[in-house]
């Protein structure tokens, strides 16, 4: 498995698009009492169910989604991630907590305002596509505009544009039943894009697709994000997908966010054993960057040896070091900020946590001089 980690920009500061704070969703009888009750809210899922008959799908979740980022929520089935994304536009009514979109309280919205939010500001792409089987591709893509009351010729014109954008030219007259899974999801994507939403919400959009098609679709999403810079919230149970697409990842378990961070942070410093177990098989050298792996350079190292970018994955440095036989310099805009040599690189590959080995924090001992290689 290869993971190509795109260059990541640091999350933009400023007002977040979505700001979620202390969000709860509890299913079951008298669900309201559970978030408020400190005794009940700390129970484990099994205890909660046996005590109250309720299931807490989302438990006290808080995060911000910044403008222009791809925010991935990842977790196994039953971890509450799909419920979470539905709470964002109140397709599922949250039990407690606050959700704000551009500073506006979503839970306080009345029906009309909520409809406006769904029509113009957040559009969703579904796992099983959710297409209308009796409509053509073009009319499916135009459906969101139709709901908004856009005239027939105008919405068809705009829909045709998005059908082309997702690469389905010439299929406008087909029906969903005549398309392959990947093509159907392209229609779903075009339908969401056609309403020009501020945020795109993806609910495990590619889980139902074959691996090859899935990779195509992931590349498509990456391309769209690069071209349009649209904010995306992406739900997935596939770690590789999360690492590939996400600027930041929220890892969920039993309704809680157990770790929130960049892919590199999650892979290189798992918050607990669950996350560690989760990321164990990830090819770390593809995710961890040289900036994280490097150690300070000694003066003579700073002037020679191959150069790598700080945000290049460790895999690149491994290649460089293997070819040159010397430590590689991590060069940021012409200055050397550190070096990586066999030791750091092997640590990354072996998954040895930073600082866990004796002497790790100190500059390299003489025994690791390049001549020994």
């Amino acid at each position: 498995m290869t993971l190509t980690v795109p260059t990541r920009k640091p999350p933009t500061t400023g007002t977040p698009v979505f700001s979620v704070d202390g969000l709860w969703k509890v299913f079951g009888p008298k669900a309201d009492r559970i978030p408020a009750d400190p005794e009940l809210s700390t129970l484990s899922p099994a205890d909660l169910r046996s005590r109250t008959g309720c299931t807490a799908a989302v438990r006290d979740v808080s995060f911000d989604v910044c403008k222009g980022e791809v925010f991935v929520v990842m977790g196994l089935s039953g971890s509450g991630k799909s419920t979470l994304v539905r709470c964002l536009t109140r397709l599922i009514e949250p039990t407690a907590g606050t959700i704000a979109i551009d500073g506006e309280d979503v839970r306080a919205m009345d029906k009309a305002r909520l409809r406006e939010l769904r029509r113009h500001r957040a559009a969703m792409v579904f796992q099983h596509f959710g297409l209308l089987p009796h409509r053509t591709v073009l009319d499916n893509v135009a459906y969101g505009l139709e709901i908004q009351g856009v005239g027939k010729s105008e919405r068809r014109e705009r829909a045709a544009e998005f059908v082309a954008k997702v690469g389905l030219e010439g299929m406008e007259k087909r029906r969903p039943g005549q398309l392959s899974g990947g093509q159907r999801q392209r229609v779903g994507l075009a339908r969401a894009l056609a309403v020009d939403p501020e945020v795109l919400l993806f609910d495990e959009p590619f889980s139902a697709l074959d691996p090859l098609i899935r990779r195509d679709m992931q590349d498509e999403v990456t391309r769209l994000h690069r071209e349009e810079g649209r904010t995306m919230v992406f739900i997935t149970h596939d770690l590789a997908e999360a690492l590939k697409l996400g600027d930041r990842i929220a890892l969920m378990r039993d309704g809680r966010v157990v770790q929130l961070g960049t892919p590199e942070e999650i892979v290189s410093s798992p918050a607990d054993d669950y996350v560690r177990e989760f990321v164990r098989d990830v090819p770390r050298e593809q995710v961890v960057t040289c900036r994280t792996a490097m150690r300070p350079a000694s003066p003579q190292e700073a002037t020679d040896g191959p150069a790598v970018r700080p945000d290049a994955p460790v895999a690149e440095a491994i290649e460089a070091v293997a070819h040159a036989g010397t430590p590689a310099r991590v060069m940021d805009e012409g200055t050397c900020v550190g070096v990586v040599d066999h030791e750091q690189l092997l640590d990354v590959v072996a998954g040895v946590p930073a600082g866990s080995r004796v002497g790790r924090a100190t500059p390299p001992a003489p025994r690791t001089s390049p001549e020994d290689v």
Binding site: L131, Y143, K173
Partner: protein, 646 residues
């Protein structure tokens, strides 16, 4: 071998013990209750002391209705309007059909068939209409068609509204569902009397009885379609910000299109069936011709009216079924637009009018009554009895009556009344839940209370005999069809035709073969119920998990072992459903058999209608309802109930 019956061994002991517990409990209850009951009221037929004579109040109620029909505001301002509206609309449709002439109607029918179902069905439709004309039945056919059009439109409207309500509201669904389920299992005959009580004999009563009978399938399927919509599609629609009306119009209704059209199909078929039966209460048209002919045992005339009925049924079924199927192939080649179809029809009708050919030409009719009656006479003379070795058809009917029907009937009537209730309770509880058992026992007791214990047991004996024959033949044919593709291919068209025919039509051939009496009624019931039983059995056997069957084969099970140890046990639920359907369908026709000498409850209803003695008829009708309920509940598998709760 142990692996073959994997699902059963674990459940069997549980089931057995549970069944034993149920029986034990019942036996205990019987031991406590029966001695006092028996000593108090005796052990023969239903005790007279426990009956309530309803005939007086019913008679006075019907008298009151008759007296007040022209004066009471309820009739003047409510039922009167309904009645007038029905009469006017039937009249209007009838006149339109006559104005279009036979050419216009045939052309329109063919064009509609072409539009929704293609060339072959268009030709078939045209041929069917022309045959109706050729048999000299054009006017009765149009009468039936006019009644049908009005009844179907009303049924669809009523059914769609109820279905919409049940589809959108959980509470209404819970309330409506048991009612619709129950209405579905009641014999058509039971619906006749209440409407006659209110509207008197005539077209309005016929139309309304038809609507009451035909609306439930539309309501059920509409609700089913609306509820069955893919939840993710609905969620997607909602996520785009659709309002509730938008959701309904752009997603839920289009998604339910197949079910809606299937509902239309079923409603049309049930309406046709009922429109024919309603000839007993003044529907006129083809059904009336059949009814009159059967009353005078004129098989030729009955057949001349029966053939158009069958053709009408087949054409209507195929065309509407094709419309429902056609939704999947969205881009089927366009044939002809609706405006063109209408224009062609008008042109053809006008052309015929100008040529003075509006009525079916008298010279073109084919009198089949004569030759058919000659053939029947020949059959009577040669086949009825005295055929060497096999005996004759009348002999068979006689033997069936004396050797099977009579012993069953006297056996049932000999049983103490409490024993009948006990048997009903035991059967219903073993197959279903205590709830179904309670309903069944109460329904059976109600029959006793109504004072029609003896005729009901007579009807029951016919039903039991017919069900036994139906199940033996049906399971055999079903197993054959499930095990051999060739048999299934051969059976399918036969089953298709037989399942679409109106119940009434089945009486014609049996009267020709067996004369009148109880045996022909049973024979008609068997023929009517057989297709459904065969079909459900075959389907159930074919749907058995292929992996289980394959593993049995891989272990070297013989064909017989596969059937008995894998297919039949795994298809148990389908087999029970087949029994349930068989019982319900058999009852419907056994009741109608009262018209051809079946006697018992069906005769009471017909007699009540013919003599204007509504009290007798209503009591018999209520007993039919109770019998239908009891038989349905006794054979209702637990699973069906469990599914309902979910």
């Amino acid at each position: 071998m142990a692996t073959l019956t994997v699902p059963t061994p674990r459940t069997v002991p549980v089931l057995k013990s549970r069944a034993a517990a149920k029986l034990l409990l019942l036996a205990l209850a019987a031991a406590v209750l029966v001695p006092p009951l028996n000593s108090h009221w005796g052990g023969g037929a239903w005790p007279h002391a426990l009956t309530v004579d309803l005939s007086k109040p019913l008679a006075s109620a019907s008298d009151w209705v008759i007296d007040n029909r022209d004066s009471h505001p309820l009739f003047l301002y409510f039922f009167g309007y309904i009645s007038n509206a029905v009469v006017l609309s039937v009249r209007a449709v009838y006149l339109t059909l006559l104005a279009a002439g036979w050419t216009g109607v045939t052309a329109f029918g063919a064009l509609v068939a072409w539009r929704v179902a293609g060339v072959r069905l268009a030709a078939g439709t045209a041929l069917a209409f022309l045959t109706c004309g050729a048999l000299g039945m054009w006017v009765p056919t149009m009468q039936t068609l006019a009644l049908m059009v009005v009844a179907v439109l009303a049924s669809v409207a009523v059914g769609a509204v109820l279905g919409l309500a049940a589809g959108l509201s959980d509470r209404l669904n819970r309330a409506l569902r048991p009612v619709l389920d129950t209405m579905q299992v009641l014999p058509a005959f039971a619906y006749l009397l209440p409407v006659v009580l209110v509207f008197g004999i005539g077209v309005p009563a016929a139309v309304l009885a038809t609507v009451v009978y035909a609306a439930p399938p539309m309501a059920r399927l509409t609700a089913l379609g609306l509820r069955g919509a893919d939840p993710e599609v609905l969620e997607a629609v909602e996520s785009l910000g659709a309002t509730a009306p938008q959701r309904l119009l752009t997603a839920r209704i289009p998604l339910a299109r197949k079910e809606l059209l299937l509902g239309l199909n079923q409603t049309i078929m049930m309406a046709l069936s009922m429109a024919v039966i309603a000839s007993v209460i003044g529907a006129g048209g083809l059904g009336d011709r059949v009814y009159q002919a059967l009353a005078s045992v004129d098989v030729g005339a009955a057949l001349a009216a029966g053939i158009p009925l069958v053709l009408l049924a087949v054409v209507l079924d195929r065309v509407t079924a094709a419309a429902a199927d056609g939704t999947r192939a969205g881009d089927r080649p366009r044939t002809i637009g609706w405006p063109y179809a209408l224009a062609v029809t008008v042109a053809v009708a006008l052309g015929a009018r100008l040529l003075g050919r509006l009525d079916w030409p008298a010279g073109w009719t084919l009198g089949i009554a004569e030759p058919v009656n000659r053939a029947v006479d020949w059959m009577t003379a040669h086949l009825y009895s005295g055929v060497p070795v096999v005996g004759g058809t009348a002999d068979w009917a006689g033997h069936f009556t004396t050797w099977i029907l009579d012993p069953v009937r006297s056996g049932l009537q000999w049983l103490p009344w409490w024993a009948v209730l006990l048997v009903v309770a035991a059967l219903a509880w073993l197959i279903g839940t205590w709830r179904t058992a309670l309903t069944a026992v109460l329904a059976m007791a109600a029959i006793g209370v109504l004072g029609v214990w003896e005729p009901s047991l007579d009807t029951l004996s016919q039903v039991l005999a017919a069900v036994a024959v139906t199940l033996v033949l049906g399971f055999a044919a079903g197993i054959a069809a499930a095990r051999s593709d060739r048999v299934e291919r051969a059976l399918r068209p036969v089953l298709d035709v037989f399942q679409t025919m109106p119940q009434f039509v089945y009486l014609i051939p049996v009267v020709a073969l067996f004369g009148v009496g109880r045996a022909p009624a049973v024979a008609a019931a068997v023929v009517y119920a057989l297709p459904a039983v065969v079909r459900i059995t075959a389907q159930g056997l074919r749907q058995v998990d292929p992996a289980a069957l394959e593993s049995a084969r891989s272990l070297g099970a013989s064909g017989r072992q596969q059937l008995w140890q894998v297919q039949l046990p795994l298809a148990k639920r389908s087999l029970l459903l087949a029994v349930n359907q068989g019982v319900v369908l058999v009852l419907a026709v056994v009741i109608i058999g009262g018209l051809v000498g079946g006697g018992a409850l069906g005769y009471d209803v017909a007699f009540g209608l013919a003599q204007g003695d509504l009290a007798t008829g209503l009591v018999a009708g209520a007993a039919i309802v109770c019998l239908g309920l009891m038989l349905d509940r006794v054979t209702q598998p637990t699973e069906r109930h469990a599914k309902k709760g979910a």
